[in-house]
């Protein structure tokens, strides 16, 4: 257990954490704002990666490829949205159906289960090879940080617009939203599209970073994303109240998750058990509000359905 090994691994962990942070922000939008646990992400992450890698391999510009990956992600969100709103399927099941369909679609996009890309032959935006020994502006940590800041600024602006407010109202209280003339089905589809668009972009970055897109790369993405959301909220809730900062907090939560993961690996845990560990940690933290309510009678009073009946 050489501490240097751990220190050497940290920049990589931070890069991965940041890239997954974009997925986590997407999951924040569905899980916290729309109040939907969207399982599409397990498939759309790979869709984003697959589209990006295949387009770069066919000679497309990297930025166009990443843009296409984002659009592909949005399309997957659209499908889940249609399953849910137009066909009346409960959101969790709608996500599972999309996720399963995407397994086939992703295989068809890639042609096989794994597509590698060589950073020496193609121009890529981020790569784990650029972690050390390159100017700072080529470092994935720098590039993805800039990406996240731009995305958060964009989302902050969007959720302050009429359309964004309608989306928030839909997630908070859909009865009220309809009474105010908001088409809640449209809001839900739009929210799922934005969320999965971000996940697709995250998948595009991740596949470049690791140098390949793989059919299983999205497995458990929802759990990692939720872990990041929960860690981010728990760690920064006293500091970050503004919506934009909350999103930053989620991205930071994702970095924390990967740092902890790195430490756990360094401590010598059997890496086969990592997913089990992640799932149990998320289950534990998801259970906290419930147990708080059971033991102390109230969860956080400022949350969702707070307030008292009588004045």
């Amino acid at each position: 257990m050489n501490i240097l090994n751990l220190l050497n691994a940290l920049p990589g962990a931070v890069s991965q954490g940041l890239i997954w942070g974009i997925t986590a922000i997407g999951i924040y939008i569905t899980y916290r704002i729309l109040d939907i646990a969207d399982l599409t992400v397990d498939g759309s992450l790979c869709t984003g990666g697959a589209v990006c890698i295949m387009m770069v391999l066919s000679g497309q510009n990297i930025y166009i490829s990443m843009f296409a990956a984002t659009l592909a992600g949005m399309a997957t969100g659209f499908i889940t949205g249609v399953f849910h709103t137009f066909m009346g399927i409960p959101p969790i099941l709608a996500g599972i159906l999309s996720q399963l369909s995407l397994y086939s679609i992703n295989l068809k996009i890639m042609g096989k289960a794994n597509q590698a890309i060589n950073v020496d032959k193609y121009h890529l935006l981020v790569s784990l090879r650029y972690i050390k020994g390159v100017p700072f502006y080529q470092n994935p940590i720098f590039i993805v940080t800039i990406c996240i800041i731009l995305l958060v600024a964009l989302l902050y602006w969007f959720f302050g617009t009429e359309l964004g407010c309608a989306l928030r109202a839909t997630g908070c209280n859909s009865n009220m939203a309809r009474a105010q003339g908001i088409n809640t089905n449209f809001s839900k589809v739009l929210g799922l599209m934005i969320s999965n668009g971000l996940v697709g972009l995250s998948g595009a970055l991740l596949s470049q970073y690791q140098g390949f897109a793989d059919i299983n790369m999205g497995r458990g993405a929802i759990v990692i994303g939720l872990a990041a959301v929960i860690i981010g909220e728990a760690a920064f809730k006293r500091i970050f109240h503004n919506f934009g900062f909350k999103l930053i907090g989620v991205a930071l939560g994702s970095i924390l998750y990967y740092l902890v993961l790195q430490v756990v690996i360094w401590l010598g845990i059997d890496t086969d058990l990592l997913k089990l560990l992640s799932a149990l940690v998320v289950a534990f933290f998801l259970g906290i509000p419930y147990w708080k309510k059971k033991l102390f009678g109230t969860a956080n009073p400022a949350l969702k359905k707070g307030g008292t009946i009588n004045a």
Binding site: E162, C165, A166, R168, N183, T184, I309
Partner: protein
């Protein structure tokens, strides 16, 4: 202003729980009418409101608001005609959003929502002034999350939201039933003030006979999805609770057994 023609709604059709909630129900409201609605549990009061609001499709009949046939319109499309306040204070507002954000959502009822700013500085000033009418000090707490307000405050805010843009029809579904008597009286007073000021056409369900008599220019009583009493004009002004009970017995052939309806 409102026309309901032969509206029928059956819940859980062809099951043991089948319930004829609205039975060939017709009601016409003139412009500026303030109609109070009473009736026992399961009489069809809320069903009538929900049919107007379009919460679900009706089985037969027609609903016309201000000359527009809304029978086939979805709930959010009808919203531009309607201001609604619900029984549960949680239903009418978005708890995780601020007071001003809730008002801004209501301000845009019935309009297309695009990428314009969700709330403008000019609106804020306007909301501050309008909140003063409620007399609850909310004008100084514009950014407070609505989830932190009391039930009474939330109902008053919902009422303001429902009337921020003058609705063709104001639907009040027992909006004071979940409040303590003092708060209920205050919310009702504000209701009367706004309805009179804006000359709103209003349908108000209440469990309290006294309130039903004290407010509005017309009173209807529902039973089994039908109107069994319709009192208006001079007759309504002279009405007492006792009259109402006698009329109910005469109309329905049974005693008004529900204490809650009598005492409120």
């Amino acid at each position: 202003m409102l026309e309901m023609k032969n509206v029928t709604k059956v819940f859980n059709p062809s099951t043991v729980n089948e319930k004829l909630a609205l039975d060939n129900f017709s009601l016409t409201l003139e412009d500026g009418d303030f109609v109070t609605v009473i009736g026992g549990n399961g009489a069809g009061k809320s069903t009538m409101m929900n049919a107007i609001a379009g919460v679900w499709p009706i089985d037969a009949g027609q609903i016309i608001i201000d000359g527009t046939d809304v029978t086939k319109l979805s709930e959010h499309k009808r919203a531009k005609f309607l201001g609604r306040v619900f029984q549960d204070p949680m239903t009418g507002t978005a708890a995780s959003m601020g007071i001003e954000e809730n008002l801004a959502l209501a301000q845009r009822r019935g309009r297309s929502r695009f990428l314009k700013s969700g709330i403008t500085r000019k609106e804020r000033e306007e909301y501050r002034q309008k909140l003063q009418i409620l007399g609850l000090g909310l004008e100084d707490r514009l950014t407070t999350k609505v989830g932190l307000l009391s039930g009474g405050q939330r109902q008053a805010l919902t009422l303001l939201m429902a009337t921020l843009q003058k609705p063709k029809l104001l639907l009040l579904d027992e909006h004071t039933a979940a409040l303590d008597p003092k708060t209920a009286a205050k919310v009702l007073e504000t209701t009367e003030y706004i309805v009179t000021r804006d000359m709103l056409t209003t349908l108000m369900i209440t469990h309290n006979m006294k309130d039903a008599i004290a407010h509005g220019n017309r009173l209807i009583m529902l039973m089994d999805g039908k109107i069994i009493l319709d009192i208006r004009g001079e007759e309504k002004k002279k009405l007492t609770v006792e009259d109402l009970l006698h009329k109910f017995e005469a109309a329905s052939g049974e005693e008004f057994a529900n204490d809650k309806v009598i005492l409120g």
